[in-house]
């Protein structure tokens, strides 16, 4: 706790320093430093860093042009997300129906967010620039050497090399992950759905209504709250079972294969790895047809009389076994099929870990007369847990978001008979992410999808924080330095 407090305080004091430095520069700087508040190239120009001066001026000009040409059209409407609906108006001059100058809510949202991000970046660059100009002034006053442009460029191969390296990847993440996430988070506070689809319709801010709907307020949409609880429970059950079965299964299988009296270890390992080689979408779609209502497994089960037996017992009421098409059966089958998909991966990892098991400890334990079970419990298992613990946490988070297994196994096969679920476009076997995906792809219900996405994030974040807080995670970063 102490440490994290210090970190937060450090963060804020760093921000404080950043602005204090700016205030000092703006107050104590000479004419050109003050001028660089308006013309960003001024400071560099004064110190004869002409290329830099031109570059930063171009940057400033680009931001201004963007703000005038693009932002000014969209940002002022950000508060309402547009007021003019798209209509086709008869134009008496051309004698034709023409589309009016309408507002597109999504474009307003998109370009507003883009503008905000650009302005935030600009603000940071602008402040740093003034501070830099002040530094240059002080350096010139002290008669220090001021870098030429080539020397400046050279720093980007040396002490500033990290900037060179990080520039493109960070830009990619900002454009393709951060901005989209910001937009979707904002959508959670609007009424963007099938009735409010740009460009023909407008959508607008609705505050926390969507969250209230999801968590059970607002009488009419009570089904949404019901579905949310059902889907959430299944998501958690699935994540726990999928993670644990694969983990334990993988370790047991690798223990079995790597037992010293087992012959042909390599062959066994390869046999299990064949399933990894087939891409998941192929193997899952295949298995889905394998277990289809009229599929091959059902035929075999009917032939050996299993179907009849189950019907007599009362487990099924149909003439086939609904492996993937009725609740209960489907839930169990999905977890079983996931074992089939995931255990070989875990077996590989566990094998790698077990092969590096410190043998001296095991040997000395054996000499002291420990039984194999005791060795496993007190030496092997703690070691494996220590190494694979962090991976276990990430696996759990991955399983909460495990789209492929659920979607590929149940899409087009499973139809829910539960009216309340159907009303909110959910199924018994849906995870939060597959529900989210189908809400957007099939029902264009972006507002609820965004809310669910935020819930998934909170879930994953909470779990990760708790898990990593408990696990004393060996930070190896500095070990080899």
């Amino acid at each position: 706790m102490e440490k994290s407090k210090g970190r937060i305080a450090g963060f804020f004091s760093a921000i404080g320093r950043f602005f204090r430095g700016f205030g000092e520069a703006a107050a104590k700087g000479d004419l050109f430093v003050k001028l660089s508040l308006i013309w960003m190239g001024a400071g560099y120009f004064r110190r004869k860093q002409y290329v830099k001066s031109v570059l930063i001026t171009i940057f400033e000009a680009l931001v201004i042009v963007f703000s005038v040409v693009c932002s000014s059209q969209y940002v002022p409407k950000f508060g309402s997300l547009g007021t003019v609906k798209r209509e086709s108006v008869f134009n008496p001059v051309t004698m034709k129906n023409e589309i009016n100058d309408y507002d597109n809510s999504f474009m307003i949202l998109l370009f507003s967010v883009v503008s905000f991000v650009i302005w935030a970046v600009f603000l940071v660059v602008w402040i740093s620039n003034v501070k830099r100009a002040y530094e240059l002034q002080k350096m010139a006053e002290n008669g220090e050497h001021i870098n030429t442009f080539m020397e400046d460029l050279n720093t980007y191969r040396n002490e500033n090399f990290y900037k060179t390296l990080l520039a493109l990847p960070v830009a990619g993440v900002v454009v393709f992950t951060v901005v989209p996430l910001l937009i979707l988070i904002l959508v959670a506070f609007t009424n963007y759905d099938q009735q409010h689809m740009p460009p023909t319709e407008l959508f607008t801010w609705v505050g926390l209504d969507n969250f209230i709907n999801l968590f059970g307020g607002g009488g009419l949409t009570i089904t949404f709250a019901y579905s949310f609880v059902r889907v959430l429970v299944w998501t958690l059950v699935w994540a726990v079972f999928a993670t644990l079965t694969n983990y334990i299964g993988g370790i047991l299988l690798s223990l079995l294969i790597n037992h010293k009296r087992v012959k042909l270890k390599k062959m066994w390992r390869t046999l299990f790895m064949v399933t990894i080689a087939v891409p998941q979408f192929v193997s899952l779609l295949l298995v889905r047809n394998f277990f289809a209502d009229g599929g091959i497994v059902n035929t075999i089960c009917a032939n050996i009389g299993l179907t009849g037996f189950l019907r007599d017992v009362g487990l099924i009421s149909t003439s086939y076994i609904p492996f993937l098409s009725s609740p209960g059966w489907a839930h169990v089958m999905i977890i079983l099929i996931n074992i089939w998909v995931g255990v070989p991966y875990q077996m590989l990892i566990a094998t790698g870990v077990l092969m590096n098991l410190p043998t001296d400890q095991v040997e000395s334990a054996r000499i002291d007369g420990a039984s194999p079970v005791q060795i496993f419990r007190h030496i092997t298992m703690p070691y494996v847990l220590f190494i694979t613990g962090p991976a276990l946490v990430t696996d759990f988070v991955k399983n909460i978001n495990n789209f492929n297994v659920i979607y590929l196994l149940t899409q087009d096969v499973y139809t829910t008979t539960n009216q309340a679920l159907a009303n909110s476009q959910a199924k018994e076997v849906d995870l939060l992410v597959t529900w989210l995906f189908r809400l957007t792809q099939e029902y264009y219900n972006y507002k609820m999808a965004a809310v669910i996405g935020i819930v998934v994030f909170v879930l994953c974040a909470a779990f990760t924080l708790v898990a990593f807080g408990r696990m004393t995670r060996g930070d190896r970063e500095e070990v080899y330095r």
């Binding site: 963060f11 999504f106 474009m107 998109l110 191969r157 040396n158 002490e159 090399f161 990290y162 060179t164 390296l165 990080l166 493109l168 990847p169 990619g172 993440v173 393709f176 992950t177 989209p180 996430l181 979707l184 299988l253 009296r261 087992v262 066994w268 299990f272 790895m273 064949v274 399933t275 990894i276 080689a277 891409p279 979408f281 192929v282 193997s283 779609l285 295949l286 047809n289 289809a292 009229g294 091959i296 590989l348 790698g352 870990v353 590096n356 962090p390 991976a391 978001n401 492929n404 979607y407 590929l408 957007t440 999808a449 998934v456 994030f457 974040a461 990760t464 060996g474 190896r476 080899y480």
Partner: protein, 280 residues
Amino acid sequence: MKIKVSDILRHVLLAFLAVVWLVPIVWLLATSFSKYTGMNTSTFFPKEWAVDGYKNLLLGSDTVAQFPQWFWNTFIIACFTCIISTAFVLMVAYATSCMRFRGRKTLMNIAVIINLFPGVLAMIAVYFILKSIGLTNSHLGLIFVYSASSGLGYLIAKGFLDTVPASLREAAYLDGASEAKVFFKVVMPMSKPIIVYTVISSFLVPWMDFVYAKMMLNSGVASQWTVAIGLYNMLEKSLINTYFTQFCAGGVIVSIPISILFIIMQKFYVEGVTGGAVKG
């Protein structure tokens, strides 16, 4: 050596599990050689054997099945994704592992937080952004989707670079090498395992991915699809009886390059997942 009962039991159990694991794969292989085009539901093995599935898939393309085109599309996308992703991952890994600068920890924490958002969520907005600049239903757009944010997956490579002794780099600095030179001439040559791992795993992304491709390539024009979308489409209710054998054949063909790459990668895979902790 005496043969014990427990040994026999162990092998029997292994054999049983292996059979369970292989049954669907054998079914895939067997069905791909079936003469009947639809799904065989009455017997495990096809009644008549033929290579028609492969022949139709590779030579005869129609509006539904254009496998050679899909394979080519996926291959091109995979190549570009692989180059960009590998570069990004290694760059971020080097910067965070080998260099010390202000804001490094903050940057890494932000990356962890971003990774906790479901990827599908961001993709929904990415779709609209790409649509507004006309890049949906294009391979360029899909390459962006696969590779632009790949820098976030730097942790495994960073874990590897953390184990490269700092003294090596320091020796190079003393000899007057620039940071860039250290990156290219000292650290990269020592990082072959992690480069191979990154190259192969990013190359495999477009072959394995289904969701993003389905979101981005939604025009219904078969010639634009990747293998995943194409094969998925073959199993539509109205098509499954004509194309199931071709689907199986396609599955077998895709699996061949993937298994070769996976066998190469296998060694590094384990090290990667356990974060380089596994050292003998």
